[in-house]
Symmetry: C2
């Protein structure tokens, strides 16, 4: 009964969450001109790197000339920043919903791991990789701005890890564990190819949880 109630209370449907953010103008509609450009930009930045991607590449990817880009964005860096900001906003909402839908601290951790793996290796994968590998290409002022959003996101993890620590299930420091997980999960983007091997996203999540020393399992 509680499960049903919670479903009504907080929808975990990813499409619903995306639509709600679009309605509030927090992320761009993927079908709009701006949204399509950001999607292509994320792909190019991940594949070639921000510096090696030219404004001509970006323009060509959406079928316009390079000069026309600057009607939508004032600088190339503004595009990078928009990719990062919208990605964090969307994923914070997705992770929040995933954690809310789980009931125990242990299940919440699994939900967060599962959701982050999905973000990294699924539809927002390009943008998540950009967030990790192109961070230095962002100007100092933009970095500070994006960092503020990132801290909300990280807070979700720390809360859950602290609960586990309070339960006596986690031996290591929550902040250290989160940072280890950030590295381990981000790195999957360089090797995890679901189509090739037999390892599913749930299987990968199992491996991560199996690797972690949660007591009283």
């Amino acid at each position: 009964m509680i499960g049903l109630f919670r479903l009504v209370e907080s929808p975990v449907n990813q499409t619903d969450i995306l639509q709600a953010l679009i309605a509030k103008n927090l992320v761009s509609d993927p079908n709009g001109a701006r949204g399509r450009l950001l999607k292509e930009a994320a792909r190019l930045f991940r594949d070639k790197g921000y510096e090696r991607t030219t404004v001509r590449d970006l323009a060509a990817a959406v079928g316009i000339q390079s000069g026309s880009l600057f009607h939508h964005f004032r600088t190339k860096e503004e595009i990078l920043k928009a990719v990062m900001v919208e990605t964090i906003r969307l994923n914070t909402a997705l992770m929040q919903a995933a954690a809310d839908a789980a009931h125990s601290a242990r299940q919440k951790l699994r939900a967060l791991v599962r959701a982050e793996l999905e973000s990294i290796n699924g539809q927002t994968g390009e943008a998540m990789a950009v967030l990790v590998f192109e961070w230095r290409s962002l100007s100092d002022t933009s970095q500070a701005e994006v960092l503020e959003l990132r801290e909300i996101y990280e807070g979700l993890w720390i809360n859950v890890l602290k609960s586990l620590q309070d339960e006596g299930a986690l031996a290591a420091d929550p902040f250290v564990v989160r940072r280890m997980l950030t590295g381990a999960l981000s790195w999957t983007v360089t090797w995890y190819k679901p189509e090739r091997g037999g390892l599913t996203l749930d299987g990968l999540t199992d491996e991560v949880m199996a690797m972690m020393a949660l007591k009283n399992d």
Copy 2:
């Protein structure tokens, strides 16, 4: 007695290992012109990224003009490749020695974790970060070449992890675990500041080992 014998048999002294590699012309003498340039290049590539680092930056770092650089290296990319190749060669030797000096599979794993953390956060830290974050800037042919060296290095890890699996101490897949560790340990370069916090390198190693679910502890 065995401990003493092994010390004589395989020296784990880092300076000795470096000197041996220099003698075989496998890595450059850090005091020579080439070695000093590679050291500065690693620092610049890590701080600004390969693309944002100009040949003028590189030349200025060692006190020469940009044109003079091309007497030592034919292209800028050749410098990046040299940084990576020499780093892997040195660290493979260091890790091999660290693993050899330990006696149980569990102790060997700890020694590898400790040694890689030291590589990432110590003297070769800049170069190790370059290996992770500037991989895409290497041409396809160079990538293939460096990858061959990297596989020897990775083999050290897989051997130890497979031993642990055979002992029944490791629940997760050795290849997956190594990849998780690669990400987690590499990522420490973005947050671990030994001078600031109270966490020593040994303390950090303990946290990593505590996080991993090795059975029969």
